[in-house]
Symmetry: D2
Subunit: 316 residues, 4 copies
């Protein structure tokens, strides 16, 4: 990730602010406010603004439960209780805003999270930067054989090199032709002064999906946790997981108590179906149980045993 001089200057100016406020603040998050945290080869995430902290969740819950919250003595206990019982609305009382640079094919996954506010760089108005994502060798994996949407083995040296060469040369060529059609270079200079350029809203269609875009993305804490839970999962595509991992770390700095409860109840846990629960109960009670009398499919059975670390019970 290389920032332009303008960006470096803007970040310094933003960080040099020292404003006084009566609002609650999150001191650990303040320390990294506006920082550009590098992700992938050209991407970044910056926390741009936030509202509320752990105490805001507690404050909202206490207005709901009134005297009813007196029994839960601590803020931490209350936040754990809310998380455990999916009492979700108090978590909506906090808000965060990020500035994110990311490849377009990842932006297309990301935007499916609808409960968020977005302002994206518009290639109808302006020329996109000459930056495209090229995976590192260790992320260039073959199609998985048993998972239609996953990756298998990492490609070997020669094959990896060939793929990278293709990705790189195609991205460069299409970008160059983008400039040619626009009659304008990425730095804004005109190529041929006597010739009109194609409309930007049309020329952009020639770019490949690994071209970087950027946006401001704002959401509340509840929806942020939904995003992170889905996207730090091992089934998520590596390239979006790289962003979610950084966001998980900003969550820790912002609302440390909520972060702990989130790890315990959302990330590290497991859901048992009705039939799955019966299987586990039978195992505990040493009753006969196997896939045939469980009502589970083979896939479901193995997912259950996997999730409960009962690997010797998995079947092939």
């Amino acid at each position: 990730m290389k920032l332009t001089e303008d960006q470096i200057k803007e970040i310094k100016e933003q960080q040099s602010q020292q404003n006084s406020t009566k609002r609650v603040t999150a001191p650990e998050l303040e320390k990294i406010l506006y920082d550009a945290i590098p992700i992938l080869d050209h991407g970044f995430i910056r926390v741009i603004d936030y509202m509320g902290d752990d105490t805001s969740i507690v404050q909202a819950a206490r207005v709901s439960y009134g005297k009813g919250t007196k029994k839960v003595s601590t803020d931490s206990g209350l936040i754990k209780y809310l998380m455990r019982h999916w009492h979700s609305t108090p978590f909506e009382m906090c808000e965060i805003k990020y500035h994110i640079k990311l490849p377009i094919f990842i932006a297309r996954q990301w935007i499916r999270h609808r409960t968020a506010n977005v302002n994206e760089y518009s290639a109808r108005y302006s020329i996109l930067d000459k930056e495209f994502y090229l995976p590192k060798a260790e992320h260039l994996a073959a199609q998985s054989q048993n998972n239609r949407q996953g990756r298998g083995q990492v490609l070997e040296g020669d094959k990896a090199k060939k793929v990278l060469d293709l990705l790189k040369s195609d991205a460069e060529q299409t970008y160059n032709n983008y400039e040619t059609m626009l009659n304008e270079k990425y730095d804004g200079s005109t190529i041929d002064k006597n010739s009109p350029g194609l409309a930007r809203e049309l020329a952009r269609m020639n770019l490949t999906l690994n071209t970087y875009t950027q946006w401001y993305w704002k959401t509340d804490l509840l929806n942020l946790m939904n995003f992170i839970r889905l996207r730090v999962d091992t089934h998520a595509q590596y390239e979006i997981r790289a962003y979610a991992d950084v966001m998980l770390n900003t969550l820790k700095k912002w609302v440390p108590t909520t972060y702990e409860a989130f790890l315990d109840y959302r990330i590290g846990g497991i859901e048992l179906s009705s039939k799955g629960k019966t299987v586990i109960q039978k195992i505990i009670n040493k009753e006969e149980v196997d896939i045939n009398n469980s009502g589970l499919s083979k896939r479901e059975w193995n997912e259950l045993m996997d999730g409960m670390n009962l690997n010797d019970r998995k079947i092939t």
Copy 2:
């Protein structure tokens, strides 16, 4: 509005905070942060937290339009442009949170604005305060004869007094019986130690719709403006308009440039239908135009003439 000692103490503590932040701040709004602004007889609005200011809107718009925004030289010009062309997403980049005390029948209107986050005092957990809305004499109006959802003449002295007496005595009686059923007074003291009280989630059904409730309500600037535009309108019920008027004033303190554009493009303007536009054009061009060749209904014709201050053209 009378605040409890606990509330007064909490507000003082909140206002005594002096935190340092790198976030943008809205100095005029900071001055009234946490203040309880009285509304109706027992209600209030407090601004509890906020995120962003006028510059946040500009910042988000500039990421969208990139170099395309250079032509609009000032922040104010850009905000006006966004408002005029309904480019709404940059306004979603600001967020505000209120603490509001309001009668239940108004809360029921309010909650229909769905794009907001809410935590309401729960009468399943706790006992509602002994406070109910009683209109001032000047707001006790008869049913309008020509507007099914509006008010007509203010009631005369005797009739007004009778209505107020009924509202007051019914609210007090139902509240007293609420306490009797709960076997508990509004201050938490038990009435009869040897008797169980009815479950709170049931007893609450005996309360009248003018009982006060309270909630935390958080929304973004775009949806706040939608709320205010609809609720400061003369067709809105007076009791919700009283809240919207106060919120309009907090809007002014928070984002003064947006406020100006909001008044010009959303509050003071008018929408012309296709047919209505043709009528106005004919008037300008001194062509023959009357309701018969306009395609407008009588109601629509009069609304148009009203809106354009062409009262002599109204028909009866």
Copy 3:
């Protein structure tokens, strides 16, 4: 529940329709279309319209996964897979619309489900029916001692009678005064022709929260299941559970395959936290485990043992 003659006539007319369509239909749901299913003393639910069936979910999933879905051979297998892995968007492809009559205090809980479309009877325009909810004796329970929002023992005969008498007399009295203030009876007749009535938007504030209202409520299948899951739960208030139970039955008639998967994965299952999972694994492996080394609170420990039917491990 008593329907008016107008309502009975309207239902008959709606049910006598026999239209031809190329859309998919849900034959079991068609059989009860427009029926008023009684709930509580005066409430009802009617299915008014719907869109899609089980095959619509499969159709949407297959467009997403393309050839990737070939491995899952049956529609039922695919729906179970989607449910298990929280692939939620295909369930949004079905839509249903209900006409519901319910007490206002239940409507206030209900409306918190924001992802739905609603048109409620407006008491600003019209006079509310003279109908209020009075619980049956077996539902008149005391406040729970260990659950701030729950019910405990059913009240005994005398106490129950006293509560019912209060609820009834207060509702009738406030309704009568509502008519007096309106100067209009529930049937639309004027009381005193020489006197103006109070505006409806004001008079309604005198009604108690057990007064019935009604609305059209439309949502997609995903959000319907969220609603049902939360509201058929034993922690939900009985009065809203009564509605959710009926809706669960309409779900069965509408999308029977989804219904089966819903019962298995959403209703009958259990969530284990990270720490809870470790406890269960230790129990299976016959390792030492008790509350002290579990990291769980007493409450959490007991909820876990309860959920897994390990009642002998509960502590007091």
Copy 4:
């Protein structure tokens, strides 16, 4: 647009259905149900399902207004009234579902309409079709000089040809390399049986933004009208306008009364700001008015005169 044999067969099967229903139907829409209406070179729109018709809007409005709607004698009058006064919730009571094939750069604009349900073809699971958008010569326009996001003059023959050649050759080359990396042809055949293919979720990043994708897209009538209003506008990019124009026509077949009101109040009308209204009033009253005393910017002044067809008052 060429449909595959599988698609043609599927459409025929869907259209051969003749189901009986008690639901309301929209006969004109039934006639085109499932039809693939061609758009651009390879795109299409198909109406797949719908719920409700004009009478559903009226039905929902009447439950809200109760007896209050009696004064508006006709369904058409009521729908016009709702549209004029932005009483939007009754329009949410109808729902429609489309199957759409469109270029990715248009899909990226489209998805910003958040209040909709979407299932998109996933290039993580499956291989995208070998189809990319190439504009017709008459749509290949130069960048507008006075509108940062618009098009100006159509390019001349030679220049147009050069642009088309670049777009075509780049799309074909990147698609061919996509196949090479996947080690799989668009028809599913393997290229080299002894070599692994790159994971689909990675290979897709090599495609250009004019590659076609497809999705199921479902929304309610209110949000459909918002979409159409914004996207049939002359400021919308031609390629999305082509889709919106077709959708406007499906709106006409589905809810003809609403369609008429939509044209009058949403499409053909104009909004006047507070200052703009004052200018028009002065013109009507033959008072002195020019840009200097109007408070309008030059841009705003000209937009106003343009909108009111007062072109001789425009300034340069």
